[in-house]
């Protein structure tokens, strides 16, 4: 599968890489059953960045877990290129919302980042180390490699989780509120890093965020979720030009308009309720 993945990847924009088709998810059975997702369909194209926004408890994490093949959906299918996803496919990385629990406390930060690289063919020990340190440096964690996750602050742990995913150099990167615990400045830096890596590696990125400004700044398209059970309320295309820039892009009227539009979509169900 790995090889075909890489081949198709070169095909360029316009090919759907990841697609959800009528995805539904119900937790529990019988009396306790609760349908969280109802009929979700969308596509993510090659090299695209898509942000998902929606109220807390809407099912964004659930959706990401279904997309990554970690959890079977109750209905509908997920396809990564030509293959139906049933298990986590190769070339896909996930940054979990609960970052602190996703790091192994018995390993140093560097070992945590290196862990997924151990299976990579043709990667020497030194090369692995190199890649881990580069990834750590790119999230602003130079010199923390020898520490243990529990010796780091929350925001630092979150960045370790991001570095782990980046070092893996996946074709598709799923991130669940990856910048929630870092300060404004670091957040801006990480947003820009997202743009950089996306370009450098032609990564396809699907990112859940609560920060609407962030979603507009990062995305080529923003998927807004709402309703019970949750469905796609709108897919907002973001046609802001690249390269984007924290100061200039965010001060354009187009940005403000998009921001207001998405904000309005999120508020809507709350007001009607």
């Amino acid at each position: 599968m790995t090889e075909s993945t890489i081949q198709t990847q070169q095909a360029g924009l316009g090919t759907p890489v990841l697609s959800a088709n009528g995805l539904a998810k119900t937790y529990g059975t019988g009396q306790a059953a609760r349908q969280v997702l109802g009929d979700i369909s969308f596509e993510v194209y090659d090299g695209e960045t898509v942000c998902i926004v929606g109220p807390s408890g809407a099912g964004k994490t659930t959706l990401l877990r279904c997309l990554s093949g970690l959890m079977p959906a109750s209905g509908g299918t997920v396809r990564l290129r030509d293959e139906t996803v049933t298990e986590p496919p190769a070339g896909l990385a996930v940054v979990f919302q609960d970052y602190s629990r996703s790091l192994m406390p018995w390993m140093t930060v560097r070992a945590n980042v290196e862990l997924p690289l151990r299976g990579t063919p043709g990667l020497s020990k030194a090369g692995r180390r190199e890649r881990a340190l580069t990834a750590l440096a790119s999230v602003g964690l130079d010199g923390c490699g020898h520490q243990y996750p529990w010796q780091l602050s929350g925001g630092m742990q979150q960045r370790v989780a991001i570095a782990r995913a980046l070092a893996y150099e996946p074709a598709v990167l799923l991130m669940d509120e990856p910048f929630a615990s870092v300060d404004a400045q670091t957040r801006a830096d990480l947003e820009d890093l997202t743009h950089t890596i996306k370009e450098r590696y032609n990564m396809t990125i699907l990112l859940v965020t609560h920060d609407i400004e962030e979603s507009v700044y990062l995305a080529d398209r923003v998927i807004v979720l709402s309703g019970t059970p949750t469905s796609v309320s709108e897919i907002v295309p973001v046609d802001l030009p690249y390269p984007r820039d924290q100061v200039h892009t965010k001060s354009t009227p187009a940005f403000a308009a998009l921001r207001t539009h998405v904000m309005g979509l999120i508020r809507k169900p709350e007001e009607t309720a």
């Binding site: 877990r65 970690l70 959890m71 079977p72």
Partner: protein, 220 residues
């Protein structure tokens, strides 16, 4: 083999067998109950209070390596071949593994939970009941499974070596009497007791550990 099971079937119809069974169960259950009743608070104390843990671990390591089986004659001397003797021995032998597991389990409590307990100033009793016990429960359940079987083995051993009435004594009688199929019938029955115990413990541990990763299975 089939002869063994035939003998076992025959045994199940005898009143004397059930009397012996009752005597074994009494010693076993009482002993394990005492071990658990003492092991829980002691284990929690040792697990929570570092000073106590370090002060006592030499004694604990020493005491728990005393072979219970070897002191059966001494215990018999003090208590006679009685239920008390069995209970003493079983409680002593199964106390250590259970207590130790509880202490480990308590030490394993998540740091953030400990901080939560401290910041809300939960009273010692409440913290023990609502937080440290449940948190140590996965370890304690494993400890109980070890302790319960240790208890069964010690009950039987004390009946065999200390001649207290019970299945073990019957087993020893069968052995000295040279009745091989009867001997094995008893052994098989004792093994089945272990299986039954496990069924009970499994079912109840699934119930009390419903929230735990091993039972809940995070996905789906």
């Amino acid at each position: 083999m089939s002869q063994t099971f035939a003998r076992l079937g025959q045994l199940l119809g005898e009143a004397g067998f059930w009397a012996a069974f009752g005597q074994t169960m009494a010693g076993w259950i009482l002993g394990v109950l005492i071990a658990v009743g003492l092991g829980l608070p002691v284990g929690m104390l040792l697990g929570r209070i570092g000073l106590l843990y370090r002060s006592s671990r030499l004694m604990v390591d020493f005491l728990r390596t005393i072979p219970s089986v070897a002191v059966i004659p001494l215990v018999t001397l003090l208590f006679g071949a009685t239920l008390e003797m069995k209970v003493m021995l079983v409680a002593f032998g199964s106390f250590w593994p259970f207590m130790l597991q509880v202490a480990y389990g308590v030490q394993d409590t998540d740091k953030v939970l400990v901080d939560t307990v401290r910041s809300f100033r939960l009273s010692t009793g409440r913290a023990a009941w609502y937080v440290f016990s449940p948190s140590a429960l996965p370890f304690a359940v494993t400890g109980l499974r070890i302790a319960a079987v240790t208890g069964l083995l010690l009950t039987i051993s004390s009946e065999i070596l200390g001649s207290a009435p019970g299945l073990g004594l019957e087993l020893a009688l069968a052995q000295t009497g040279g009745d091989l199929s009867l001997t094995y019938a008893y052994i098989v029955f004792i093994g089945l007791l272990g299986v039954a115990l496990n069924l009970v413990l499994n079912a109840s541990s699934r119930r009390v550990l419903f929230w735990h990763a091993s039972v809940r299975g995070d996905a789906a």
